[in-house]
Symmetry: C2
Subunit: 257 residues, 2 copies
Amino acid sequence: MKLLTVVKIGGNIVDNPLALEQFLIKFNQIAEPKILIHGGGVMASEMARKMGIKTKMYKGRRITDYETLKMVTMIYAGWINKTIVANLQKFGCNAIGLSGADCDVVPATRRSPEPIDFGYVGDVDPAKINNLAIMSFLGRGICPVFCAITHDKNGSLLNTNADTMASSIAIAMSRDYCTKLIYCFEKDGVLYDQNNPESIIPLLTHKRFVELQDEGKIVEGMIPKLENAFSAIENGVSEVYVKHAKNLDNDIQTLLK
Amino acid sequence: MKLLTVVKIGGNIVDNPLALEQFLIKFNQIAEPKILIHGGGVMASEMARKMGIKTKMYKGRRITDYETLKMVTMIYAGWINKTIVANLQKFGCNAIGLSGADCDVVPATRRSPEPIDFGYVGDVDPAKINNLAIMSFLGRGICPVFCAITHDKNGSLLNTNADTMASSIAIAMSRDYCTKLIYCFEKDGVLYDQNNPESIIPLLTHKRFVELQDEGKIVEGMIPKLENAFSAIENGVSEVYVKHAKNLDNDIQTLLK
C-alpha cells in the first residue's frame, strides 16, 4: 500500500507569514503523496469583530448563522486557502485548494436543529467522501489543500470542524493508502501538565486518554481534538500524531495508539 | 476539433440568488465542455465600505493595496466562487472552483509600478496559461469555475480583471478546442443608443467598433470590455458574444466579428 500523509494546521499559523513559510517548506519536503487541511478560527473571530458580526456561541461552540457562513467561507476558502496554495506553488509543490463542494469531494449533512440549532454546520461521513476524486489529484502529483467548508449537495455551503474534516479525510483515504495523520497545533504534543511545556506524553493510548480526562489533566478543546484523533485510529488510519507545526520534521510529538 | 464554451458573468448576479439560480440552470444545459469565469466587483465595493477600506481609484481603475487584495480574494475566491460551485453541484454539474494559483493554471505578472502603481494587480499572458491542467479537468467531465485571482509564482496572489481573465483563458483553450466566448452583462448586447435597450447591434465588426467610439456611441467601461472581446477573436477564439445572463439560452445578443 502506498503511503499518504495528511497534515492539519490551525488557522493561526496563516496569520504569521514567517511561521507559515517555515511550515510549508517542511511540508513540501514530505516526499510521498500528501494532503493539507487548515483551520482559520482565529482570523474569523477577528474579522467578525471588524465587521460587527456578533459571534454566537453555545457551550463553547460557534453558531453559524448566514452572515457567519459567508464570512468563514470568505476567510477559509478565500484568503487562507489561496494564500497557502500560492505559497506552496512558490516552493514547487503543485497544490490545489479545495472546499468540500469542489468536485463534490466532501459532502456533508446539515446538523439537526434539535436540540440546538447550530445553523449552517455540516457533519461529515467518511464513507461518503469522494476518495476517487482525491486519488485522481494525488495520482497526478497534485497536493490537495482543504479548507473546512463543505456542502449539502443542495446548494448550501456548510461550516465544518477542521479537526473532524482532517480525521474524516484521513479515514476515507485509508481505504487505499497507508495513512499517517498529523495534527499540528500550538503546543509540542499532549501535555501531562498544562503549565509545563516539557511534560509531553510521548505515547497516548485511548485508555490513558480516558484516565487523564478523569484526572482533569486533559480538558476543554483538547478533548474533542483527541476524540477526532482516536476516531481516526479506530477507523483505519495507521498512525496519528499531535505536535507543533514547527516540529513537522522532527520527533517532538505525541503518538496516539 | 471539440467544442468548448467559455462564459463570463459579472459579480452582481451572485448577489441575487434567484437570478444566479436561473443563470446556472441554463449554463448547466450547455452540453459540451464548458468553463465559467466570474467577477465580483459590486460585492467588493460594498464590503470595502463595510470594512472601512477606502477604495483607491486612478482614472476609473481600482488600485489593489494589500488590504484590498485580501478582501477581493476573500470575496472572489471564497464566497462567490464556492457559492457558484455548490449551486452547480446541486444541478448535477461537477464543478471545481479555481483561482489562477490552483495547479498554477493561470500565472500572471505583477504590473510594473511605473508610471502608476496599481498594487497587487496581475497581467495574464494567454501563452503561459496551463491549458493541459484545464483540459485534464474538462476531459474528466469537470467544469472549471474561475475567479479572477491569479498569482506571481513567487507566493503573491494578484487581482486580475475578470474580462481579461475570460478572454485569456478562451485564447489559451483555442489551441485545442473550437472555443465560443460569451460575455454576460446587465444589458441585452452592445447598444447603439444607451437610452434605448432595444437598439441592440446584432453584428459588430472591429471597424464599426472603432467608428462607434469616434461617434461617442460606445463609451467608458464598454470600451475595455469590447477590446478584450476583439482580442479574443484576433487570437483564435471562434465566436464571441455579448449578452444578458438571462438570455444565455436564446439569440438576443451582439455577435462580434
